[in-house]
Each structure stands twice: as structure tokens, then as C-alpha cells.
Assembly symmetry: D2
Homo-oligomer: 330 residues x 4
């Protein structure tokens, strides 16, 4: 249950009574109780401005609480979600490999009108015997690109040991699919106001996915976008299975902006263009597309990154699809 | 391996030697050997016009054999696949329930410019204690609609006991997802020339899916379209998971037309419009959408069928998306 | 709901009223209604001896209807399920390949004290370009082994076109995993009294699995055993994933005997012995183990069949495990 | 590739050349290269005592490197794995709830001859609106039980923010299923010598599972046991699907001790006894079973914990099954 509580009420007593999280809003407190609590106690009626009973632990993210889509402001013009009808394009290589490589991509972004650059510094690679990313050095390179080209920067947190570093350097914090349940990361991200792109774990249900977002929301950071990037199924001809039925579910039941990552889902460059067009036609709020100056020599995810030519061709085709569904790629 | 063999060659001897299926073409025979056979014997070189080594049991359906998309002619104007850039809309209720219901839908199809009517007669329902379909009576009603309104008819085969009936009555034979491996059905469908829409089993890999199509192709019927209708995954908030990564794979690797069924994948009417737009943006060759005059009283799949108003709105939006990707809904 | 109805009652009227299947028992009729029917009409109270409300379409197979395990009699001494505490060993090759091969296996069965011989005649192979089985010829060879060695014979139905042949020749009819939903087969098997081993489809839920059994039960054949043989998951290092949690569920909730097929689940001979011991420790009613005189030259499933030496060693170890859980391998 | 290198060789130069991890052994260094490196350079032949080419990133854990099972010593008598033929029983409640609850369980362990007590302090619960564990306070209570009753303590790490605390207090560190990919945790665990029980992520392949273990091994901690606890599949009647085919694979291909957690896999107490007997019959090295003085009031996982009576009955039956397969429960 979500309660809106008078500022003058005894917050601590109410929190205790309802075993509730509390967030401060301008004119009232928002209390979020466990979903097992179904009713307000008679004695608190005066303190409680409004109450929203919820049947699951999806609460702040639910359309039953706030029916309009939430909006995340990246700048005065760059917004994700809400009523903007904008689909934000985010692109860049899987990993920061060198300043030269990153600069090349950053210039390409500017030329393509892309405003947000992505690249990983901490690579959550499964094997210890492969490239593990440039780490802190990569963050510094990304910041350099922001300063040089005016791009916004998004990069991924892999575990709680470097979450503070990523929070310091990035404009948007991406929580990796393998870290979706990491409470150390979720807690740190709930205490800031920077936008968070939360990736769905490839073995995680939609319910768990939104519950992870609730950890951030209930800590006070309302700037959370959900990113579907493919789930693991029995099919092995493609790397993962992009769950667009799940996206339809999230659009219907949650008020959070939705970003799609077809590159990781497909795992092969040949399918990325078709899938990206499908995502745009679904009316999603953002796209994460891997692009590399020379995919064949990439240090990670070589098979799925687009080259510049492929990306340009895709970008052009997306404008038309977006227009067909009343949206605009930014 | 696929071999093109001179008409004058000793077909039976070659078949025996290569353990091969044979199909007659105008100027030559097509022999399809097990994929374990990798080379032509020196002594047969004169008899063999061309040879196509294949590394899996996907052969006639492979782009490595015929690189262009195959086309299925339904009539002089209605074609699926090939270079037509047409996306065929097929709609109708889950089940034939009564003549009145079917007539209402048929009239609606005509009004919407839809040329192919779908409806199930044999319902592959899992429980014995639910509606099992009208059977042969349903086929007669469908034929009546064809005669009255000039619509093409597609209906589903559920098991081999009624395959001959469906073949007799339908213009397009749909092989149900639960029957994808049924050799009794596949064999019967391979001996005719009517178009076959083969649905992917919800637990079947892409490899198995195309191998089922190979059963029909290697028997001599080249008019096979593949229908993705959602696979079963751990996610239970939606009925199935529409595998568009798999569709990207099929488009790249096979030469068969591809039809999408977002209604069964989603299981809920609310997501069908968004998903259908996504399918059209992928550039697929056909769509199967469930529509019912009054979904709330439908005898099967009540939750996922669109009503007429929802379908009209969807149809209108699809024309624009199709145009954006250089295609046309027919 | 299940109803026990007086013999003197108007059966047809009651069936019509409750939309019910009917089976004749000695002193009463058993009516099985859709699970949506929750109550008996006041006017029928006199006709109805007993009523069992059920909350799903699992009815005759439910422990809520008959709480003890059902027993299937193969002969006066060979019984599956019930209170027998016996675990029936069934073994033999994946496919009948030749009389010589089958005779060798049959002799081995006799030597090992195995009473039921398995071997496939119709092979539900996915690719059309591989060995499809000996068909009717294989059935005749199996019957010959029965006559020669006094073994019971079990073989698999693949589609409805040959179900009558298998019913004629086999002592136990095995419905293949890919045919679990095949109503043509289920209907034919419901009209006989021979024991049926129904394999779970590898993409089928436990609910659907038991519902398929309900088709046979509600047609009047109570001799149904459930066979778990591995489900399809994201894991590809093994062929399938043997679902022993599912077996625990079936033991708890259904009254049908349970048979396990670890050979198909694992797909590799090296794991079969360990898994078989696990199955016996679970307290199941039967085992299907693939054994071949020379697995390396087998025409199907070569990698997972045990050779005679491996089978003998396994058999010996099973006796001890069975004893530890109060059971006996027969 | 794994290399054994002379102590007198230039380690840094070799590491650089082969892009290798290094661990010090008594008489030589162990170098672990990426699996892409297939050969030793001629010029290094004198420095290299032995070389083990590996075809995947599974190296130190592979039977191809060390063919016998590795052993973990908990004390002079308590050993996991190796040639001990012992199966270690670990039990306790899902969560530390209070000193009283924990003391009651600890006494029960002593009475049952169980030597290792499990209980969670940091609960990786998916929803923020449910019990999150006692944290550091729980660790102190666990240490108290160790002092009072001489039990060994195992508890779970949930994210990298508290890994050092768990390392300080626990005798065995359990890495939770949701943290299997957490490099912050893996790194910290690789720098100590305490035994690690690494749980398989429920969406993780066997390959990824062993690769996570390689992170710990290649950092220098050889005391790693693998814990299978159920994978996520389409089946929802049980909480997860215990992957015993996967266990057979791990036994065949890796040299690490294997521990099974049937409680979390099943999710319901009714199936735990049967599954645990199955695990013992598989010949595994350890068991994690959830037991609670009063499961119905447990603050987490109430449905799957055994009560004391159920546990005693189970324990007794396991001794016989263990004996049947030549093992002993300790």
C-alpha cells in the first residue's frame, strides 16, 4: 500500500506501524508498506491524505499508483518517457578500448545527431581469462569525450566495489543485467538523483525486474528506466531472446520509461537493424545500440556491434518508422 | 547435400547410393541426401548438373541453396514472400463457434479489405473438459464463407486423423504448434500443392522448426511458410514469448516466407497492437491476428482476441508502419 | 467435478446438464464435468452417490479424488504403481535395427531378469534426412521376441496414422514426448485397456502433462503411467533436464504410476547410471533405460545408450538403492 | 592453457607473453593463459615443466588438468570431496531471525550429529518491502553458536558491500545464486583460503557456473565447491528445477566438490525428502537442507523449510541410501 501522509504527522510512528519505507515529497510524505498490509488503521485516518492499495510488491512503478508515464529529464531538451513521444538513441562500443577508438565513436555520434554515448569500463565477462575492461581509466576517457563533444555519458556498473566511481563520472548509470539483484548497487543508486538505466537480468521475471526498480524508487530516486535486453531461453541460434511481449506488459502495467537493447539480445549484427525497427514500432522510450569503428577487432562482443555504415543506414530508416507511430528519434 | 541430376540418369541407383529423397523438377531431378554425405562420387559426375553441400539438415529451405526468398501464390494477386514486399493480413476468431458468428467476422473481413479468413475447427485444447471445436461442421461453415464472400480460408490441423478433411476444405493448411513434429500430417501436406503455414512448436528450436518444414519440402510441396507464434520461457506474465530474434535468424538463413502470430504469443489483447506493429516493422510476410465479434464470450482464447474496433484501429496504423519499411499490407 | 451416479439415473440427461464425460464402473457411472462446474443441482441429489469438487482440470488423476496410487497390472506378478513398492525395469535399444540386434538384446534381458523389452519402430526424428525406423516390420520383430522369450513389449506411437498397429502388437503403448498433445492418439488409447506410458512433452508443463493423461482416463482407460524424460531448458551441455522436482510434484498430487527415462534426459551414457540411481531413490514405479549391444554403431541416439556391461553394473547397484528406500527392482 | 613454470624463470615476462594469471605452488608457478593460446613458444621450453592445453575457459576446475576430485578440508575429520566418500550435511534455517531461534536449531544440529550450521544474515530478497535479514547482528549470533556448540558456520554473501564481514565471521563463505557473477565478491574470495560454496545462478549455464569458480581458483583459492540449487525453467508448479543432469555433467568434467540444495530448488517441504535421497544416490559431496523450528512462522522461505521431525526422519533414511552407494553422511 502507498500512503500520502501529512507533514505534521508522526512519521516515525507511522513507519513503524506500517513497516514502511518513506520518501519526502513537497507537501507530504510517501509511505510504502509491504503489500501484505491491506488497510489503514482507523486511528490514522486524519494523518493520511490518500491511500493506494496494491496487490503485489510493485507499487511506485505501478500504473495503479501513477497512471501516466514517468519522465526522466537528462537536460532541458533531452527527456526519456513521459508524454514526450521521443525515443532516445544511445550508441557506442561495447567497451572503451582506447582514447583513439572512443574519440572516433564520439565524433561519429555528433555527426549522427546522437546525444548519448555508451561504452563499458568494467566488463562483466564470464571468464577470468578474457578482457576485463579499462576500469577507472575508461571512466576518465568517457568524461573527456563529454567535455570535448558535449555528449552525455552512460556506462555500466558491474559490482558494488566501483559503483561510487561510476556514479561520480557518468550522466546516466547503467546497472548491468548480471547485477540487477545487487542491493549494494541498488542502494547506492537510490540515494542519488542521476538517471538509472536498470537492465533486466536474463534469467529474471518481469516481476523481479520491476521489484529491483522499486528498490531504487523507494530509496528516493524516481529517475529509473527499465531496459529489456533479451532473456535466456532454450533457443541457442541467437544469443538471447528479446522479450517484446514483456515490453508490452511493462508498458501496460508500469509507469517507468522503457529502453530496448536489441544488440545484446540478438548477439549478431545481421539481425540488429530489423529488431531495432521493431522496437521503435513498439513505441519505446530509448534504444541502446552497439556500434564500433571496426567490429571485427573489438575486444568484446565482436559479433554483434554495427559498423558506422550499418548504423547510419539504420538510423535513417528509424526516423520513418518513428514517424509512423507518432514518435521522434532524438 | 542437394544434387541436381540429369533426367536421363538412373535415378533409383543414385537415390540408393546417396540415401536421398528425390523431387522432380522440369529439367532435372532434385536429390536431397543426409547432411553426413559431403562429396559426390567420381563415377556420378556426368549425371550431376549441380551440387550444393549443406552442413546441417536444413537444405531446401536454406539461403545457401536458393538465396532469394521463395514465393507462395495464393491467387494471381495474393502472394506471400518472394520479392512482393507484401504483408498478408489473416484474421478471424480462434474457433468457429456458429454460422452467425462466422458470417459476422467474414463480413468484417470484407469491409476491412482482409482477403484471408482464419478460424479453428479442431481445437488442440489441453484439457479434455473444455470446448473441443465444431470439427467437420466447422469446415463446412468455412467453405460457405468462401463461397459467399470470396475469402480464402485457412484452418488448423490438430492431428493426423483429420488432416485429409482439412486438406479438402481449406485454401491454406495451418499445422498447429502442438503438431509441428507430426509426421502423419507432414507427410500428407508434402503430397499436395496447397500452401502450408507451419507453426513453430512452443518448445521447438529454430533448427527443429525448419527441419519440420524440410519434411514437407522434400516430399515435393514447396509452398511452405513458417509461422512464429511465441515460445515457452520462464516468464509467465505473458502467455508465451514472441521470438523476434528467431525471426531475424530465419530471415537471414532460410528462404521461406515468414508469418507472425502475436495474438497467441501475448495471450492478452492489450499488447497485440504494439506487437503487430513491431512485426510489420521487422518486414515479415504475413500476420495472423485473432479477432472476434465479442471476445468476452468466446469459447476459447477469450483474453487475446481483438474486437472489431480494436482491429480496425490496428489495421489503419499498420499501413503507415508498412510504408515506412517499404512494404504494403494486403 | 467428479460425480458418482446411480445406475438407474438418466445418464444422458445428467451428462447434458453437467457437460460431462461418463465412464461405466461396476455399481455406478463416473461423470467428469468441466472444472468450471462447482456444485450439484438440488434436483439431482438423489441420483448422485458422491461428488468430488476439483479446482483444476486434473480430476481422475488427482489424489483429491482417489488418494492411493493407482496400480497397473501387466501380469499377475508384474505390476506398476499401487502399493507394490516395485520399480519396473524396462530396457532395450532406441530403435529396432535388425532381428539379430533385437534378439541379442532380448537374450540379454532374460539373463538380467528384465521382463519388459523396449525398442522403437517409428522414430520421431526431427530431420527427414535421417533413419526413420523399421515401422511395421519392426513391430513384427518385437512380437517375435515376445513369443520366443516371454518378454512383454513396449514401443512408441509417433503419430495417429500408425496408432492402431502399435495397439495391436504392443503389450504397453508408449506415447512419445512429441505426440503428448495428439488427440488422435489419446482418443485411440482411451478406448482400450492396455497400459499406456505417456511421455511428457519436453516443452510441456506438469499441468498439461496430467491433462493429457486425463484424456485417456476420461475415455475409460485407467491404465496410464506418466513418464518424465527431461524438459528443454537453457542448458545445452546435457540434452534435456530431468525434472525430478516435477516428479516430486506428480507423486504428491496425482495418483498415477510414474516412470523415469534418464537416458533421453541426459543424452550421454556417462551420466545415466548416477541419474538412474537418483530416480530409484526418489521411489518411482518404473525406469526406461536405453541399452544397445554396440552403442557406437546405433542408428539413433548413439551417444546415450548403455552397452551390456554398463547396464549389468548399473542393474546390480540399483538393487541396493531400491532396498534402502524399501522398494524392489523387478 | 595451464603451464607449470620453474621457480627460477622470469615469471613476469612469461605472464606478459602468455597474458596469464599466476598462482604460486610449492615447487613451481601455475600460469593460466586465455584458452585462445594453444602452444608454448619454443624459447620457453626450458622454463616450462608441464603444459595442459584446454579447449575452453574451464581450466583449473577441469578433469583434464587434475583428474582426481579436489578435496576441501574443513577440519582434520570434516572434508568435502576428494576420495573421502563422505557427504556433508549442512542444515539450518533460511534466515537468522533471533538468538532463541538460532540456539534451538544449533542444539538440534548437535543432537542430529550435524557439524555445519547454515543461516542467512543478508537476505537477497527480490522485493524491498519484505524482511531483509539481520545483517551484521546475525553474523555475531552465528559466531556465538560456533563458540557455544563447536559447529562450523556457513552464511551467504549477497553483494560486495558486506563480503569482508562474512569472510571475517564465517567458516565457509556461501556466494548466493544472485551473486554468482559478482566480481567484487569473487575477487575477495579468491584472496583467502576459507572454503567457498559457490551457488549456481538460476539463469546460468554450467559453463558460466564453472567459469565463476575459475575466478576464485585463478586468484589462488583452491577451496571451491559448486552448489546446484535449481535452475529457472518454464515449469511453475515447483519453484525451480533441480538440474541433476547438470550435476552428472559437473561430476564428469570438473574436479570440484559438488553440493546440492534441494530445498531452494523444490520450494515446498513435501518434495525435499525424496529429492535429498536422490541427491545422495547421485553420490554428491554435500547437502544444504533448510530446517526451521517452526517453518510456518519463518520470516522467509516458509513453505520449503523442514521442521525438526521431518529432518530427523529424512536424516535416518539418508544413511541407508548413502551406504547403498558406498558413501557416508557426515
Amino acid at each position: 500500500m502507498i500512503l500520502h501522509v501529512q507533514k505534521k504527522a508522526n512519521l516515525v510512528a507511522l513507519q513503524d506501524f506500517y513497516r514502511a519505507y518513506a520518501i519526502e515529497e513537497k507537501n507530504y510524505y510517501v509511505l510504502i508498506t509491504p503489500s501484505s498490509i491491506k488497510e489503514i488503521d482507523e486511528s490514522h485516518k486524519e494523518d493520511i491524505i490518500a491511500s493506494f492499495p496494491m496487490d503485489t510488491d510493485i507499487q511506485l512503478a505501478s500504473r495503479k499508483y501513477i497512471s501516466e508515464a514517468r519522465e526522466i529529464k537528462l537536460s532541458d531538451t533531452v527527456k526519456i518517457g513521459g508524454a514526450s513521444n521521443q525515443t532516445l538513441m544511445i550508441t557506442g562500443p561495447c567497451s572503451v578500448e582506447s582514447e583513439e577508438q572512443l574519440d572516433e565513436v564520439a565524433q561519429f555520434c555528433v555527426a549522427q545527431g546522437v546525444q548519448v554515448l555508451r561504452a563499458g569500463c568494467y566488463k562483466p565477462r564470464t571468464s577470468p581469462y578474457t578482457f576485463q575492461g579499462l576500469g577507472h581509466k575508461g571512466l576518465i576517457l568517457l568524461a573527456k569525450m563529454r567535455d570535448k563533444y558535449g555528449l552525455k555519458i552512460i556506462t555500466e556498473v558491474k559490482d558494488a566495489t566501483h559503483v561510487e566511481d561510476v556514479i561520480e563520472f557518468a550522466d546516466i548509470i547503467q546497472i548491468g543485467a548480471k547485477a540487477m539483484y545487487d542491493h549494494g548497487i541498488l542502494r547506492a543508486c537510490s540515494k542519488i538523483n542521476k538517471p538509472i538505466v536498470l537492465k533486466r537480468g536474463f534469467g529474471s521475471t518481469l516481476q523481479e525486474f520491476v521489484q529491483s526498480a522499486e528498490f531504487i524508487l523507494s530509496g528516493g530516486n524516481m529517475n529509473v528506466a527499465l531496459c529489456e535486453r533479451g532473456i535466456r531461453t532454450f533457443e541457442s541460434k541467437t544469443r538471447f531472446t528479446l522479450d517484446l511481449c514483456g515490453v508490452a506488459y511493462l508498458k501496460e502495467h508500469t509507469n517507468l520509461p522503457i529502453i530496448l537493447d536489441p544488440s545484446h539480445a540478438m548477439g549478431y549484427a545481421y539481425g540488429v537493424a530489423d529488431l531495432t525497427r521493431a522496437c521503435v514500432a513498439m513505441g519505446v522510450d530509448g534504444l541502446l545500440i552497439e556500434t564500433h569503428p571496426n567490429p571485427s577487432i573489438a575486444k568484446s562482443d565482436a559479433s554483434q556491434q554495427l559498423n558506422f555504415e550499418q548504423f547510419s543506414a539504420l538510423k535513417k530508416s528509424l526516423d520513418k518508422v518513428a514517424e509512423a507511430v507518432g514518435r521522434k528519434i532524438i
